[in-house]
């Protein structure tokens, strides 16, 4: 197989010695099926002799069955893994391939090139040291070449090589190559990409892949393999960055040992180094670098180690240990680039989980400043981000985190967003900088708190959150409940959807994004009123589970009671007290819940009212009894 050199047969010990000291380079290949990307990877595997006999047999059989190269071996089939993909003839995911030479081991992220697979390419690029951009010599620089260039530079890849492929089909013409190079350089300057290497190749025929092509003596640069064997590895470069260790796991085998385990995200660390723990800001000195093979004198970026400190200070998972002289920033509001990776769009105001290093916090997007058109690089206004959209957004976290700008450090400046209900990874994010206001706004402590307000009123404040379709009877029932409570001398306030939209929220419409913001504001107002000691009733359709969950989490445990006013769509539509369903059916009202916008029913409401089986009066009585039995009305 690999490394067919005489050394294997003659001196295996020496061979092993050589191969134990080689480095590791990760790279990504960008291009579409037509550019010969898969063929190139197949060719690299073939040239480095990574193919076994049974692979070759399978490949020959596959080539006859699926191939597009007639009787010749179709290298592309080596890398199109899943059965579904072979049938469709496209690559739909990220596949990782391995090969090695005497100088390096290589991990190739093979990702599809079409715009609808932007997220896959971003994923592959996030860990790559280098990128190979495939250009078909017959077609030159295309829209997708520009898109790929933008993405790999956005993700911080510094080593970019443009492989001008299919040179055999343009008679190995230097003129064609030069024109493509000049076109690309003009474009690269626009997006700030520097130091690009150009190599004319034929992946299919093998020109300039491993050995210099006999057909292109006008080209004197490196072969593709030569380039990959010598280009700088990103983690080596990161040793010059300030020391960073995101704490993954606290190691406490017994009372005498407390170690902080993690992978160095930057720099070098040695015993005796002064460190700062972030975000707490406490300082100490590194005592030992502990490994199972004995203590180390130093550890460098990329190594997974366990540190002990000279002082006992409180450190937990998610904290960052940094060089005391060059600490990371700490903040809770950032400007970022988000790459949206899920079918369900980003909605500003909705809460997501944000994972950065080993820290997971709650975050929401406070503003989408603009969306970037990945083909033209134009900035456009956006209210939400759809799958594969890239936008510059401000985000706000529920507590401060330690960070570096992404351009300084990919591991302490790159984060993911996770949907709290589906648990899907929905976005990749790159931190630009902290927003200054996040350092200047502090909570003002007050003396008269919620408990004092509530005591004076002799009640336990809470929110009765009515949710259900338009016309279900939310406002009617909530109004009856408030009248009953008022008659008992309770302090209440009813926030009604239609009324709030005439004032506080009159700037909002009915798009998904505006619905989220509508509920966020109502949730915040309800929270203030609960703080004032009131029993708050809210009557809003509030169709999304996420936002009802967000409102619930603004309050303390037990202060949020979800009341599901359950009416089948047919019944609500038959009632249609405001004539809205008829308008929606005629198409005069867009985004109407139940018609062309979804309603996500509660899964476990505190009170479930079935309006087909009880009158509004009975429903109100049921709700008052529920809160009485739960102790909210105790004197």
């Amino acid at each position: 197989m690999a490394h067919v050199s005489d050394l294997i047969a003659s001196d295996i010990e020496q061979y092993l010695h050589v191969h134990q000291h080689k480095g590791l380079l990760r790279f990504i290949t960008c291009g579409s099926v037509d550019d010969g990307k898969s063929t190139l990877i197949g060719r690299l595997l073939y040239e480095s002799h990574m193919l076994f006999e049974d692979h070759m047999t399978a490949l020959q059989a596959d080539s006859r069955r699926w191939g597009t190269q007639g009787e010749e071996i179709d290298f592309a089939l080596l890398v199109d893994g899943l059965a579904a993909e072979r049938e469709q003839g496209i690559t739909i995911d990220v596949a990782y391939r391995f090969f090695s030479t005497e100088r390096r081991k290589f991990i190739v992220a093979d990702t599809p090139g079409h715009e609808q697979y932007t997220r896959n390419m971003v994923t592959g690029a996030s860990t790559a040291d280098a990128a190979i951009l495939m250009v078909d010599a017959r077609k030159g620089i295309l829209t997708q070449t520009r898109r790929h260039s933008y993405l790999v530079s956005l993700l911080g890849i510094r080593a970019i090589v443009v492989a001008v492929n299919k040179m055999d089909l343009v008679d190995y013409s230097e003129q064609v190559y030069r024109r493509i190079r000049d076109d690309y350089e003009a474009f690269a300057r626009q997006i700030g990409v520097e130091a690009v290497t150009f190599i004319p190749v034929s992946a299919f025929k093998g020109d300039n892949i491993v050995s210099p092509s006999p057909h292109m003596d006008w080209y004197r640069g490196p072969t593709l393999m030569g380039y990959l064997e010598t280009v700088e590895i990103d983690e080596d470069r990161m040793q010059a960055a300030p020391f960073r260790l995101p704490v993954q796991w606290v190691n406490r085998p017994n009372l005498d040992f407390r170690g902080y385990a993690g992978t160095l995200a930057g720099g070098v660390v040695r015993p005796g180094d002064r460190i700062r723990v972030q975000p707490s800001g406490k300082e100490s000195t590194v005592a030992r670098i502990v490994t199972r093979d004995g203590d180390l004198e130093q550890a460098v970026a990329g190594q997974s180690v366990t540190l002990t400190l000279a002082d006992e200070i409180d450190i937990s998972r998610g904290d960052m240990i940094s060089a005391a002289r060059e600490p990371a920033g700490t903040a809770d509001q950032f400007e970022t680039t988000l790459i949206w990776m899920h079918d369900e769009p980003l909605l500003p105001g909705r809460q997501y989980l944000l994972k950065l290093g080993a820290r997971t916090v709650t975050a929401s997007v406070t503003a989408i400043k603009y969306q970037v058109n990945v083909n033209t690089l134009e900035h456009t206004a956006a209210k939400k981000l759809e799958l594969n959209a890239i936008g510059v957004c401000n985000i706000s976290l529920d507590r401060p985190v330690a960070f570096d700008p992404y351009t300084d450090n990919r591991d302490t400046g790159g984060f993911i967003l996770i949907d709290r209900l589906s648990n899907n990874t929905v976005a990749a994010g790159l931190i630009h900088f902290a927003l200054r206001r996040s350092q200047n706004i502090h909570l003002q402590p007050v003396d008269i708190n919620q408990e004092a307000h509530a005591r004076l009123k002799g009640q336990r404040p809470c929110v009765l959150w009515f949710t259900g379709l338009s016309g279900a009877g939310k406002s009617t029932i909530a109004n009856l409940v408030e009248k009953k409570l008022h008659a008992e001398g309770r302090h209440t306030y009813l926030l009604d959807g239609d009324n709030v939209r005439h004032g506080l929220n009159k700037d909002l419409g009915f798009t998904d994004a505006d619905r989220v913001e509508n509920i966020r504001r109502v949730g915040e107002v309800a929270r203030l009123m609960v703080d004032a000691g009131l029993i708050v009733l809210t009557a809003f359709i509030s169709p999304f589970r996420s936002e009802r969950q967000m409102a619930r989490e603004l309050l303390n445990e037990g202060e949020f009671l979800e009341i599901f006013v359950d009416t089948p769509l047919e019944a609500a539509e038959a009632r249609d007290p405001k004539g809205l369903y008829r308008k929606a059916r005629r198409g005069e009202l867009k985004n109407f819940t139940g018609i062309d916008s979804p309603y996500e029913a509660p899964e476990a409401p505190e009170v479930h009212v079935d309006t087909t089986r009880m009158t509004p009066e009975d429903a109100a009585e049921l709700i008052v009894e529920h809160i009485r039995n739960a102790g909210y009305l105790a004197p």
Partner: protein, 299 residues
């Protein structure tokens, strides 16, 4: 200072294991006693030193492993001071499922795939480490390091979470579980070199020795105990053989070899143009068979 490829692979695997230890509710490490398991266990010992790994080992046993594998397994667990759980599918024992009467497909399905699901359900493990590598087979190349399984243990290749940088999203709903592959980016050569460099103990069956074998359909099968029925006229012959992979002895082909040291094994592997899984009888179906097995819950 430039880290070597083995140092980087080691660091990545340790990072993955610590992430699981920090975020999983009830993790377990699948231990199959083979060379990849040996490397995975060695990395776990490093990841949590001076603590022992904060999870037990689970061996899904089919009752048909080589005797030397059982002896080796028990020795490793004793020496390292680890917890070992052994699960054998009781339904399979009751029906006396075995590779001879029922064939490799049924034996593997009931004693491995079903048994694994049983064990994970029984102990309520939410994350299980496995030693699979992406270079082994095509569908593995596209599988994530953190590979999600539904409550029915099914894998959905079209619905995998993106894995960016060194960030892993480990969140899941109740009943769902994750298979985690810390050796995803290692190749067979990396594994052998690392075993050599780190002096990691492996089952002696990987080294050539005189062993009793019979030849069936071009495959050398070792007669490891007297449960193996011999065909008329078949007598075990002593041959110098070794194994490139280890599994159930009736399903694992031996190769003729005199390589009895690690460098000799690596040398032989490099000079032999046959890839690793050819010794495994279960992989000889169509190209999509592994993908299908994985969707059904095979590791």
């Amino acid at each position: 200072m430039t880290l070597t490829h083995l140092q980087r692979l080691e660091a990545e695997s340790i990072h993955i294991m610590r992430e699981v230890a920090a975020e999983a509710d009830n993790p377990v490490m699948l231990y199959s006693v083979g060379k990849d398991s040996a490397v995975m266990l060695h990395l776990a010992m490093k990841a949590f030193h001076p603590s022992v790994p904060p999870f037990p080992l689970l061996h899904v046993d089919t009752r048909w492993k080589f005797r030397e594998m059982y002896a080796f397994r028990d020795r490793m667990v004793r020496e390292l001071g680890l917890d070992l759980l052994v699960h054998i599918n009781p339904d399979g024992v009751e029906k006396d499922i075995n590779p001879f009467t029922h064939g490799s497909a049924i034996h593997t399905d009931i004693m491995k795939t079903e048994a694994l699901k049983q064990a994970l359900n029984h102990y309520g493990f939410d994350v299980a480490f496995g030693g699979a590598r992406r270079d082994e087979e095509k569908s593995r190349a596209k599988e994530r390091v953190f590979s999600f399984r539904t409550a029915q243990h099914r894998w959905d290749p079209k619905n995998q979470r993106p894995e960016l940088w060194k960030l892993f999203n480990t969140r899941k709903l109740p009943g769902e579980s994750i298979r985690v592959f810390p050796l995803s980016n290692w190749t067979e050569l990396d594994i052998w070199q690392y075993i050599h460099l780190e002096n990691i103990p492996i089952v002696p069956l990987y080294y050539a020795a005189m062993r009793p074998v019979v030849e069936r359909n071009g495959t050398l099968i070792m007669v490891d105990d007297d449960r193996m029925p011999l065909n008329p006229g078949e007598t075990p012959m002593l041959r110098s053989v070794r194994f490139r992979t280890l599994g159930c002895y009736p399903l694992t082909g031996a190769v003729e070899s005199t390589a009895d040291t690690l460098p000799a094994i690596i040398q032989e592997m490099l000079l032999t143009r046959t890839s690793e899984r050819q010794g495994r009888v279960i992989d000889h179906d169509s190209a999509a068979s592994m993908e299908k097995k994985k969707q059904e819950g095979y590791f």
